[in-house]
Amino acid sequence: MRNVRTENQKNEVDDLKKLIRDALAKNNTARKIEVLKKVINIMVLGVDLSDLFSDVLMLSVTPNIMQKKLAYHILIHYASSNPKLAVMSVDSMQKDCSSDFDPSIRGLALRSLTSLNAPSVLDYLAEPIQHGFTDRSGYVRRTAVIGALKLFHYNPSAFEANNFMEDIINCVNDRDPRVAVTAAQSIIEIQKSTGGSISSDFIIALLNRAGEMADFLALAVLDLIPQYTPAEEEIFPLMNAIETVLSTINPAVVVAGVRAMIWIVSQSHDSELLDQAMHRLRTPLITLGCSNCYTQEIRFSMLKHILTIVRIYGNLFEDCLYYFTIMREDPNYIRIVKLQIFEAVVNGKNRKFVESEVFTAMHNISRPNVAACAVSILPKLIANGSAVDSVFRRIGMILASKITPLYKSIFATLPALIQLTPQKLDYLKSVLLPIFTHIPHLNVPYLNEFIGLLPYIAPVLPDAIPTYLLEELLEHWSELDNETQALLVPTVYTMFFVRAGSMGSVVTQMQNVLVNCKNTMLVAINAHHIQLMNSDPHQFRDMLLSTIAPVEPEIFLQEKYALEQANSASLFDEFNSFAVVMGKPSDFFLQDALSMSMVDDELLKMEETTHTEPEPEQYTEPEPEQFAAPQPKGVSLEDLLDFGAPATAAPVTEPATFDFDVTTEIEMSAFQEMFLGMDGVEDSFNYSGTTDSIMSVLRKAASGTNEQGFRYFGYAHLEGEIVLVYMVDDTEAKSVDLVVKCMDGSKNEPIMVYLKNLIQ
């Protein structure tokens, strides 16, 4: 906290000084405590009271524990930032460390002494810590362990010189479990910096004592287990030991137990063991997620964990979904995660129950977010055999009632519903027509979904309507945001093939709009589309129309949820963490990964001096002229529609160099979304250079470090295409795992080869 002092505050210090001396003179303990409280109250406001240090130091000499605590609190506050003051307080604290009087005073003094984070006192810490290890009080011994850990952080060489690691290891077998666990935690903490692994004896000795431990001590032991790889014969004893803690009241202990159990069984070669364990874990998970004995926050966190599990082990909860019944008191966020669980678990057996819950949530429009989530589950219900008429009648009713808060979700869901049941499109015609006769306000939240739905419903709309809608949207091009513009381009091409007779003018209008478009990415996408159309129009048409063609339920279920399942599989490895509750791997939100700046000045400077410009045009992208796009006014639609001989493919030569544009920044969430949605290539290889040289190759800022090595998240444009690069650099082994994902999938391999050559 910033220390400030004004003239008035000087007077305040003088007054306090007077009060302290008065209390000292009268030797009244209660008065001394009151004065100290007053000092703290002013101190926390940021007022500099360091002038009172020597007076407070005098007050710290007392057998009264509360007075001592308050005095020490003030001493630590100022001593940490003032080495001279720190030295002044050392003597008093050292004396208290060896007090025979009371273990709480010895513990307090040791804790306070080791909290003086000042270089000037480091030399005074070792001896009291050493004594603390042999104290008869567990409280003091534990404080000594924590003190040694602090010393390790402040001054590793002093820690090593005093051989404190051995003392801490001895404490793992301490008769007081609190000391043992703190020692174990400290060892793990130290090993994070120094390397090394824990032994099985160490873990099993602690686990066997878990029964003696209360709450967070047991939790700390369980947290150690995922850092230990058990031998095959240790797996069952460990599972049995863990199972006893799964029934404790403290939810944190249970979740840590679940995580430990999952870790243990995943180390086994017996593939059925994990399934067995998951069944054993079912009851504690349901209790934590569904019992109203626990707070909403706990239940929500557990439901998110259950969601991750059911996305992988869908049938685990299929026969007990009634536990997840949405209750009246459930807040929106719990309702939504329960619906997501239903979506993951629904099958032919439990469909009726899920239907009832989903329909109920859908109609409760006083909670539009929940209703929207319920709507998004409808395709999966239909794919699992729900009554199609019932689903469509409900959607029709919402649309006919103009329940606009649900439009976004309904328009986003209808494409899948239409693909699954194209025969029902006629049914929706009368409610869709009034909505699709004019473009909505450009600021409505469902504009993108409105545009995305057009190709699917175009067959039942009168000829003039889609043309009119797209023309209107293109007229307002400059008012549309980037995302909407990006959506409009492929939609126009798709509509061109869906309604070939009436869309020519719209395509022409779009080309004219794009002539002046400053968004180079969109221009490139358009050019790419035209290239595809020129090179093989039949293939291009088939490609676009296949995205809106009817699909069989089995294929829908397989494709739609594949990505979600893969994502859950990676989250499963991070069980009991923020990642699961946030629904995305920790790589995407940890501090280490958050620096997404694409340009690091230092790196660019380094590159300017070390990196030679690539040979020009060794890898030749087709010139824009060859795509005939963007076209000026008067583009020949007949040419575009020429389904005759395919145009000559653009010449492609051996790929060698790429000129990345790294001047753009993106949000981490956008990176994640794109990364999960794009196909890429992956490679692992060794390199001979340094981390810096790799960074210069990637031309971007790196994020930071984690336990294994460095991770980089790169984002760049390459001739309008987006390129994503994800790299894990194991600096010790001098090897990297590299993933390249380019919007144009065909460039993945060449870019990978290019980067690999440079890195190696």
């Binding site: 509360m66 009241i249 966190s301």
Partner: protein, 437 residues
């Protein structure tokens, strides 16, 4: 886990109590949280974990205060939330009062020191025995208290060394003038009834709370009459789980004072204490007549029965985006009841009925008519419209002993002799039955 900062802030954004790794972190967290809160129209819509560049923040509202915890690395969320709860519990034990603004203002320094003791990086100390010995309550230190009101001890007589290392939840040398143990069985009933009045889901959430005032180190055995009805249970660390697994008895050395020995859930196989029979009938193209018949089941005696039919949960009134006019699906509701007091709130569109005691031999009839706006015949089925309407009935049990789980007896280790078991108080506090029309 590593907690970067633990902050308690007022609902107006003022920081009240904090502990953080770096000095300005707490202020930064509070301002970031309030920015997110301001951006969100509804607190309920805020994600539990807020994501920022430097850290993630978990937030929990308690008594007009917000508990905020910031973590800079991947952290165990449930532990963070549990730490909030443990802190709250210890405060409650120490001050006999839940954490409020007033309490923080009054006891700021003790709370600050307590928090300082409990949290150090990834090491959390939540051992209530130890903490309460370090920061004893006024009652427990009354003998040494000085007149100014702040407890003053010239010597901490027992400290942590007094907690048994092998039984960390119990202090050693506990002494009471009169040994006794009181048991409370507290249950809450929840159920969902379908449109035919059939219970589709029911759940009893219960808690066996014990107030143990026993000297020395007692070994207690609690036998239940019907343990087989329990679907899932969780226990205090003192309970010997192996004995529960093999004999379905609760064997433990209790902590001193009040604690929860077991929490349990009973699903299915329980009689619903209340019978609700709904009936709906379309009487015209745009009208549905409905009735609810509410009566107690069997011997149950229920009081403070409150029925709420939230018609606003249907598509009764809507806000639309743009220039479109709102369209009402339900245009009128006319509801009444034969006894009790009932009202229909035109603003919130909630129908509410209440009666102090449900007649044991009769039933309450709530009848009404809902008028709908005409829609295209193709999409119209007003009965579907009732999907969104969930009448909910809440009630209190009047009789003690309505609990599903029963305690048989409590036995104590030999040295205690006599009958220390003072009986069980069964409190089935409340119930809620929700209906899907």
């Amino acid at each position: 886990m590593i907690i970067g900062a633990f902050v308690i802030a007022k609902s107006n954004g003022d920081l009240m109590l904090q502990k953080s790794l770096t000095p300005d972190l707490s202020n930064e967290i509070v301002s970031l949280f309030w920015r997110k809160l301001a951006e969100s129209n509804n607190y309920e819509e805020l994600p539990l974990i807020l994501e920022f560049n430097q850290f993630q923040i978990i937030h929990i509202p308690v008594n007009s205060l917000y508990f905020l915890v910031a973590a800079q690395n991947e952290t165990d969320v449930v532990s963070c939330i549990s730490f909030f709860e443990m802190f709250n519990e210890i405060v409650k034990s120490r001050f006999s009062h839940t954490l409020t603004q007033e309490l923080i203002n009054k006891e700021y320094i003790t709370l600050m020191l307590l928090l300082d003791e409990m949290l150090f990086g990834d090491i959390m100390i939540t051992d209530s025995n130890q903490l309460l010995e370090l920061y004893p309550s006024k009652e427990s230190s009354a003998s040494t208290r000085e007149p100014e009101g702040f407890e003053v001890q010239t010597r901490c007589p027992s400290l942590v060394s007094n907690s048994s290392a092998h039984i960390p939840w119990r202090r050693q040398n506990v002494s009471h003038d009169k040994n006794k143990a009181l048991v409370d069985v507290v249950e809450r009933y929840d159920a969902v009834i379908d449109s035919h009045g059939i219970v589709t889901f029911s759940s009893v959430n219960g808690n066996i709370a014990i107030n143990s005032l026993l000297s020395g180190q007692p070994d207690v055995l609690l036998r239940l009459k019907n343990p087989s009805c329990i679907s899932s249970a969780s226990f205090h660390p003192s309970v010997r789980y192996i004995k529960w697994q093999s004999q379905r008895v609760l064997s433990f050395v209790p902590p001193d004072g009040k604690f929860s020995v077991m929490r349990y859930q009973i699903n299915g196989n329980t009689q619903c204490p209340i019978s609700i029979k709904p009936k709906t009938q379309r009487i015209a193209d745009d009208k549905i007549e409905f009735s609810l018949s509410v009566s107690p089941n069997g011997d149950f005696s229920l009081q403070d029965v409150f029925v709420k039919i939230p018609f606003n949960h249907s598509s009764l009134y809507l806000t639309t985006v743009g220039n479109e006019e709102p369209v009402h699906r339900i245009i009128n509701v006319d509801v009444s009841s034969d006894i009790g007091s009932s009202s229909y709130n035109q603003r919130t569109h909630d129908f509410e009925f209440s009666i102090a005691k449900l007649p044991s031999n009769g039933n309450v009839q709530i009848t009404g008519t809902i008028t709908f706006i005409q829609l295209d015949e193709k999409y119209r089925d007003p009965l579907d419209e009732l999907d969104g309407i969930h009448p909910a009935v809440t009630f209190l049990f009047t009789k003690e002993g309505d609990s599903v789980l029963k305690v048989n007896k409590m036995e104590f280790s030999d040295e205690y002799g006599g009958n220390l078991f003072k009986g069980v108080k069964y409190k089935t506090l409340s119930g809620q039955v929700e209906m899907q029309l």
